[in-house]
């Protein structure tokens, strides 16, 4: 049986669908009986979504960049 520590070690591969069939079974078997690991995986997925939704920094000097791009395009075509 997989230990909790081993499960945590494979958790990213689980999220990314990188586990082989047998590994997936072992992980599923562990999760079926381990409340803490179920909570860990649920909160790991939640932290993934948190990063996805964390606001991105604005583009610095956007207008200057846009001007440069358009001028550059005029010069090259």
């Amino acid at each position: 049986m997989l230990t909790c520590k081993e499960l945590v070690g494979r958790s990213s591969d689980l999220l990314d669908g990188e586990l082989k069939f047998k590994q997936r079974l072992a992980v599923a078997a562990h999760l079926a009986v381990c409340l803490r690991c179920r909570r860990f995986i649920r909160q790991l997925r939640l932290s993934q979504r948190v990063i996805r939704q964390l606001p991105e920094a604005d583009v610095a000097e956007l207008d200057a960049l846009l001007k440069a791009m358009q001028a550059f395009r005029r010069d090259h075509h």
Binding site: I51, V59, A60
Partner: protein, 201 residues
């Protein structure tokens, strides 16, 4: 016509709003790629240079790949040419965030959790991110990761790139991408957990 083709047509027509949309949509992903390859200090310059290369080659964009893949390939190539010979080693450095990781100390000698795993107060990212202090705290954690770790995390989680695409863009092996991503995720997890438990960063 797809949204992407529509955007390209408007770019080719020189429409200003289209340029603005292009840059706002893809600058973050390009910055992450550039940072992974040349480091944060040179990333902004590489991104600017990449945008000019994009503009120069716009007519040659054949929708064989997605627009995003095309933009990120240009960025990676621009960054790599900047590096010339002095390619940095891909260091699987062990930089973790300010709140550590989920490391050996969390487990008993038999491999089971040594203590309780705190339950977070909400299941919704919006509710968690509602607190400015947590948003700042997460930024702080991201900035404490190595440039490569942070970039891999952002490309995967925020930009939704496949692991294979990340490998190809950054010239790092599949197993290294997996290690970098895993460590970055555990650092983020540790920060969220710390914040949930203590209410501060």
């Amino acid at each position: 016509m797809t949204d992407e083709q529509d955007l390209i047509q408007r770019l080719l027509a020189g429409e200003q709003g289209a340029y603005r949309q292009l840059v706002s949509t893809y600058q973050g992903a390009m910055r992450a790629v550039a940072t992974a390859i040349v480091g944060i200090a040179n990333a902004e310059e590489v991104v600017q240079e990449s945008w000019l290369a994009v503009v120069r080659n716009l007519n040659g964009f054949a929708a064989r790949s997605s627009l995003k893949t095309w933009l990120l390939t240009i960025t990676a190539n621009t960054a790599k040419s900047r590096l010339r010979k002095q390619r940095r080693e891909v260091l699987l450095d062990d930089l973790t965030g300010p709140h550590g990781s989920i490391d050996d100390r969390r487990f008993a000698s038999d491999g089971h959790w040594a203590g309780e795993l705190p339950l977070w107060h909400s299941d919704s990212p919006e509710a968690l991110l509602d607190e400015q202090a947590l948003r700042d705290c997460l930024e702080h954690t991201l900035n404490s990761l190595s440039e490569l770790q942070r970039s891999v995390l952002l490309l995967r989680e925020r930009q939704g790139l496949e692991l294979t695409d990340i490998c190809n863009l950054l010239d790092i092996s599949h197993s290294n991408v997996r290690v970098l991503l895993h460590r970055a995720r555990l650092s983020v997890f540790a920060t969220l957990e710390h914040f949930e438990v203590t209410g501060e960063c």
